[in-house]
């Protein structure tokens, strides 16, 4: 069983990495569930041709106790099973509590067992700003944390904060650091900065994605770049990430 939580600074490309990784893993024969853990509920949009899902929390609001997993799960590109936790509108409510409640709902519905899922990807909003956003890395959820970063100072800073949180949870049986994924912004000394970060936390750099307009072109089509432009260099880099993930994490629990 592969269970990854993907974190990183807001806007760094977590959802892009997650959706492309999900698609590549599905292409390689894995049964993948991608759960967007963000009130915006747009993590899986490139796997669904631009179509939004009914989020778990919106489903709970509408249907209360009668909500079922089938109401909030949809199959996306490559057969990836898609779900979004959703959350409150900006400035209202408690997004962290919302993520916790939504993930607990999906857990109780035994989605993995019912759908034969062997790979779960949690695409988590920005920093680990409160307890609710740490739920995807708790025992029973993700086993490994991937952090998406570039060489930009703020991205490295956010990545280091998240890695510190993972380190602080040692002893609780939480997910451990799985590695970093570089989404290049072509800033000076980008390799050196990222390599220093990885060395500081004794974690590998699993893959590097070049800056490519093909990614945006695919997103305009409502698709992942690995589906829309499989022959592009960046699609190959995503496949390399999927290979690294399978090699490193698939053996556990199987």
């Amino acid at each position: 069983m592969i269970k990854l939580a993907i974190y990183g600074k807001g806007g760094i490309g977590k959802s892009t990495v997650c959706a492309n990784l999900a698609f590549c893993l599905a292409q390689a024969g894995r049964r993948v569930l991608q759960i967007g853990c963000d009130p915006k509920a747009d993590s899986t949009i490139a796997l669904r041709g631009g179509e939004r899902l009914l989020s778990v929390l919106e489903g709970m609001r509408q249907k209360g106790l009668s909500l079922a997993a089938d109401d909030v799960l949809r199959v996306g590109a490559g057969g990836v099973l898609c779900a979004e936790t959703g959350g409150p509108v900006p400035g209202m409510g408690c997004a962290g509590r919302g993520i916790a409640a939504a993930l607990e709902f999906l857990e109780k519905q035994d989605v993995c067992g019912r759908f034969g899922i062997d790979t779960v990807l949690y695409d988590v909003l920005g920093d680990v700003v409160c307890g609710g956003f740490a739920v995807p890395m708790r025992k029973g959820f993700a086993r490994h944390v991937l952090i998406v970063t570039s060489g930009e100072s703020m991205a490295v800073y956010a990545a280091a904060n998240i890695a510190m949180a993972v380190r602080n949870f040692r002893g609780r049986g939480y997910a451990v650091m799985g590695g970093f994924v570089v989404n290049r912004r072509d800033v000076p000394d980008e390799d050196e900065r990222v390599n220093t970060l990885a060395a500081d936390f004794d974690a590998p750099v699993l893959a590097e994605m070049e800056r490519s307009s093909a990614v945006q072109d695919a997103e305009r089509l409502g698709r992942t770049v690995t589906e829309a432009f499989p022959d592009s260099p960046v699609a190959g880099q995503f496949r390399a990430l999927a290979d690294a993930v399978r090699t490193r994490f698939a053996a556990e629990g199987e």
Binding site: R97, A100, G131, A134, R138
Partner: protein
């Protein structure tokens, strides 16, 4: 349903259920909540508090600790208290604020266990579920940790499961149940958990059948069934219905089949409406039918205990005053906690029966021990008096 309770109280929460379930078992119960809230769980909801000591503590959660997620002081304080009092185990549970913060009780329990060298249960109560779910959670977790691998020595040995003052009051009914069964040649192996102990809990596997006297006991009963194959019977041995419970226990022990004699009441369009916890209310409905000849139905707003109910009884997943009022309006007579009176129609005969989980200690002294004695000895079954509720 709007889930409102304007004129009536709400039932005790899951946090109180944990405290009540574990009160006599020799552990230390720690509630993660603000200072002062121990009054809610241990004095308002716990009638044993003034007569019998139990290690129940509040973490004293502050605003700053909530904001900064400072769980280190909690761990330090619990470890210090455990070193001072040497409990048999620690149970860490929560309240609404830590629930919203996403506190990970299982992880905290793991850290505490390593630090204290004691069994620690992490019980994720929220303060917004019912006491039945809290008691069920606490007992089931405790059984998983402490139950010994023992088997029944005799086919006439039973356990009593689900006994807390929140449902039974403090009127000696547990002792009366034990005396009733012992008098009929049935040994009571253990009681979970009024009058019980951790030593009793360890040997729960040694019974041939389990008697569930409140729906908080259903989770433990299901656990014992999975692990030991022990069947369970749902029902309280009250009034003349006690003989039915006895017979069901004997049949369950012989056949290995679960039984629910209390679901044999009329249900549906029954004339007398009994409101409250499912097993207690259904058992009372059966006992009332025996002595009054009037058909009874049950209304349980606690979302648990469907096993105990008859077809046409009403089980709600949430407390709702408006729905309660609708149901009471159609009843020929009502049996309920006195604090339900404001939502009962004026003129409908009302038999008051206190329920600690609903009215705390307000009516504690008036809750009769109904075990295996005619209800007419405790109540005016003519239902002749109406109450002063509003129209």
């Amino acid at each position: 349903m709007r889930n409102t309770a304007c004129s009536i109280p709400t039932y005790a929460s899951d946090t109180s259920g944990v405290c009540s379930a574990l009160y006599e078992l020799g552990g230390m119960t720690v509630v993660h909540d603000s200072s002062g809230c121990n009054s809610t769980y241990s004095t308002f909801d716990e009638p044993r508090w003034y007569d019998r000591e139990s290690l129940i503590f509040i973490t004293g959660l502050t605003e700053a600790e909530a904001i900064f997620g400072r769980e280190d002081r909690l761990l330090d304080d619990v470890a210090a208290a455990a070193a001072e009092f040497s409990p048999a185990f620690i149970a860490l549970c929560g309240s609404p604020m830590p629930f919203i913060l996403g506190t990970d009780y299982a992880a905290l329990a793991g850290e505490l266990e390593e630090r204290c060298g004691l069994p620690v249960l992490g019980l994720p109560t929220t303060g917004i579920r019912t006491y039945l779910s809290g008691a069920d959670l606490a007992w089931t977790a405790l059984l998983q940790r402490f139950c010994d691998d023992v088997r029944p020595a005799s086919a006439v040995t039973i356990n009593i499961l689900g006994a807390t003052p929140l449902d039974l009051g403090l009127n000696g009914s547990v002792d009366s149940m034990k005396a009733f069964f012992e008098g009929r040649g049935i040994t009571v192996n253990a009681c979970l958990a009024m009058g019980g102990s951790l030593a009793e809990l360890r040997r729960l596997g040694a019974a041939a059948a389990n008697l569930v006297v409140a729906s908080s006991g259903i989770g433990p009963a299901l656990y014992l069934k999975r692990r030991f194959g022990t069947p369970f019977v749902a029902g309280q041995p009250i009034g003349l219905f006690a003989e039915d419970v006895l017979a069901a226990l004997v049949r369950a022990a012989e056949s290995g089949t679960d039984m629910s004699p209390c679901s044999a009441h009329h249900g549906g369009e029954g004339d007398i409406l009994v409101a409250g916890e499912a097993v207690a209310a259904a058992s009372l409905a059966c006992a009332l039918e025996r002595e009054t000849g009037r058909a009874c139905r049950v209304f349980c707003p606690l979302g648990r205990g469907g096993e105990a109910l008859a077809a046409g009884d009403v089980l709600l997943d949430a407390e709702d005053e408006e729905r309660a009022a609708e149901l009471f309006a159609g009843a020929g007579a009502i049996v309920a906690d006195p604090l339900y009176r404001p939502v009962c129609p004026k003129g409908t005969p009302f038999l008051p029966l206190g329920h600690v989980a609903f009215s705390g200690r307000c009516h504690l002294g008036t809750i009769p021990d109904m075990t295996a004695r005619p209800l007419a000895e405790a109540f005016d079954l003519s239902f002749g008096k109406s109450h002063g509720g509003k129209a």
